[in-house]
């Protein structure tokens, strides 16, 4: 069973073929992004005279630099807030059996079912009345609340499986609940914090609907909205569009390849939560 047999070789060949099929769209993406607009040969034929002109043009015209900064700021700040408030909330929710604790937990879990489309239209009005439309703060506020249920769910599940002995020992030694959380509980939550960090960062970074609503018509764009705007503007100039798409993918893939083990484990980690 643990030997490399003929059947293993056949499986290997089949899997590599599948992977090539999966990678094919990416080949076309790179191939066309490197191609001058005047070259109208078949998109699957390798480009004969590769050029970087599309990249410089896309970078300048799509305002991707500013969008990249906005996306980084929005993702970093809102994920930080979500992790902080959710882990803190999970502590009593996982440990206390009081009525208020159970009630609060159920209320927050209700958020797992509610689709954000229901909240986002009335919230649009509130954000507008607060004068926050077009500001990245509206997004940070939105994600900080939207991601609470899922993150709290992960933390509570993990915390319930942890023994209370360390907390009890620390409190006998005179730790206040806050110190206990900061120095005893939170460090033990590290594995689930990594999972929550990865899943939240990916979903905030990739979200399109919310910034489309709250930032449309302003100069402040996140990456997905900047890309959509650019595609709308250069409808059929696909070489240029593909260069912009590739620019937006590169930072994400770079982070993914650098941290692939934690990221894949993070996604799979939701299984244990």
């Amino acid at each position: 069973m643990n030997r490399y047999t003929r059947r293993t070789f056949m499986l290997e060949t089949a899997m590599v073929a599948v992977a090539i099929a999966f990678a094919f769209p990416v080949y076309v993406l790179v191939n066309l992004a490197l191609r001058a607009p005047s070259d109208t040969s078949s998109p699957i034929r390798p480009t004969t005279a590769p050029t970087l002109v599309n990249f410089t043009q896309a970078w300048q015209q799509a305002g991707l630099g500013g969008a990249l900064v906005n996306s980084v700021v929005v993702t970093a700040v809102s994920v930080l807030i979500v992790l902080a408030v959710s882990s803190l909330a999970a502590y009593p929710l996982a440990r206390s059996t009081a009525h208020w604790s159970r009630g609060a937990f159920l209320l927050i879990m209700l958020g797992l079912i509610l689709p954000f489309q229901l909240a986002s239209l009335p919230l649009y009005q509130t954000i507008r009345d607060l004068g926050l439309l077009g500001s990245v703060w509206s997004l940070i506020l939105f994600y900080s609340g939207l991601q609470v249920p899922f993150t709290t769910f992960l933390y509570v599940g993990f915390l319930r499986a942890l023994p209370r002995d360390f907390e009890d020992a620390a409190s006998i030694d005179g730790c206040t609940p806050l110190e206990n959380f900061r120095y005893v509980v939170f460090p033990m939550l590290k594995p689930v914090t990594v999972t929550a960090l990865v899943l939240n960062a990916v979903s905030v970074w990739n979200d399109f609907f919310t910034p489309l609503l709250y930032l449309s018509g302003s100069d402040h764009q996140t990456m997905p909205v900047a890309i959509a705007g650019f595609v709308g503007q250069y409808v059929s100039d696909w070489n240029l569009i593909f260069a912009a798409l590739l620019i937006s993918i590169v930072p994400v893939l770079a982070v993914y390849l650098a941290l692939q083990r934690s990221i894949i484990n993070g996604f799979a980690g939701g299984l244990k939560g």
């Binding site: 290997e12 899997m15 998109p43 408030v85 009593p92 609340g145 994400v252 980690g269």
Partner: protein, 310 residues
């Protein structure tokens, strides 16, 4: 200095005078920041949304009136809305079946002795981290009249199959499913793989020694032990499918005609191009109901399975 320290009680004395507690009770206010954000962003607006669904609110005018069930009754006379509900359910079911089927096969393939297993795992999962709107624009070109899919067909001698894949009302919906499966099959794979790797090797080996065939081994041993992974995967894909917006927006914009409109795209169009906020939030209420029914149904069926398996 020395006198000063002697004058103070030692820290040990201070601790001893504190009341002793054997158990920490984390205070309720630890929940307050999370609850405040959640209430402001999700709970209160959702409740208002449900209320607005019974009004003729246009999103701007502070004056609006209560119209009862008119918005919901209007949906029954609105073929676009009925179609969108059908498309939403169809997409969710198709994605759930196809994406998880392929994801499971990939997981079984990668969870073997093949040498490329680590590279393949990283490669096949990669699309799942890329922004959906970006992959959707990529595929919009691939599936276009001059796109790479038609070029491939031409090169394979299947020129008669060439067409505008997204412009064909009968195929466009399935093209959206294809794009989502391409992007997220690796995601399902990773979750199945984690489930497969948690199954102790001895169990397979014992069954193999007993002469159990591969199919039987999968069905009687792997499948029941995979129950938690199946639950997570089905939950993720069905809810993701029901809420689908980005890919439809980027690939077809709901077209041709309304051939690929989902509830989520109609919510957006009705609110922001037609100004019918009341009707739009009523659609969002329907969406919520579908998600709730799907989650509850899945939870009941799957937790029964998980219990049976354990």
């Amino acid at each position: 200095m020395t006198i000063d320290t002697k004058a103070r009680p030692s820290p040990a004395v201070v601790t001893a005078t504190r009341p002793r507690r054997s158990r920490v009770a984390p205070p309720w206010w630890f929940v307050a920041p999370a609850m405040a954000l959640f209430a402001f962003v999700v709970l209160v607006p959702s409740a208002r949304g449900v209320y607005y669904a019974f009004t003729d609110w246009d999103g701007l005018d502070p004056e609006f009136s209560f119209v009862g069930l008119r918005n919901f009754a209007g949906m029954l006379d609105d073929p676009t809305a009925l179609q969108a509900v059908w498309h939403t359910v169809l997409i969710a079911v198709a994605i759930t079946v196809i994406q998880n089927g392929i994801g499971l096969l990939l997981a079984l393939g990668v969870n073997s002795m093949i040498k490329t297993r680590n590279v393949l795992r990283v490669l096949l999962f990669a699309p799942a981290v890329v922004t959906p709107i970006v992959t959707a624009y990529l595929w919009r070109n691939l599936l276009g009249p001059d796109g790479a899919v038609n070029s491939l067909l031409g090169a394979a001698g299947l020129g008669s199959w060439q067409q505008d894949w997204l412009g064909n009302p009968r195929l466009a919906l399935w093209m959206i499913v294809l794009v989502i499966v391409w992007q997220f099959a690796g995601y399902s794979m990773v979750i199945f793989l984690a489930g497969l790797q948690s199954i102790p090797r001895e169990i397979y080996e014992a069954a193999a020694l007993d002469g159990t065939g591969a199919v039987r081994r999968f069905w009687s041993i792997v499948r029941p032990l995979l129950a938690p992974a199946i639950t997570v995967n089905l939950m993720l894909s069905i809810i993701g499918g029901i809420k689908l917006f980005d890919q439809v927006y980027a690939l077809t914009g709901g077209g041709p005609g309304h051939a690929t409109d989902t509830i989520a795209t109609l919510i957006y169009k009705d609110a922001f191009t037609l100004g019918e906020f009341g009707y739009s939030v009523a659609l969002a209420v329907v969406l919520t109901a579908i998600v709730a029914v799907a989650s509850a149904g899945q939870y009941t069926v799957l937790s029964r399975h998980e219990r049976a398996a354990s």
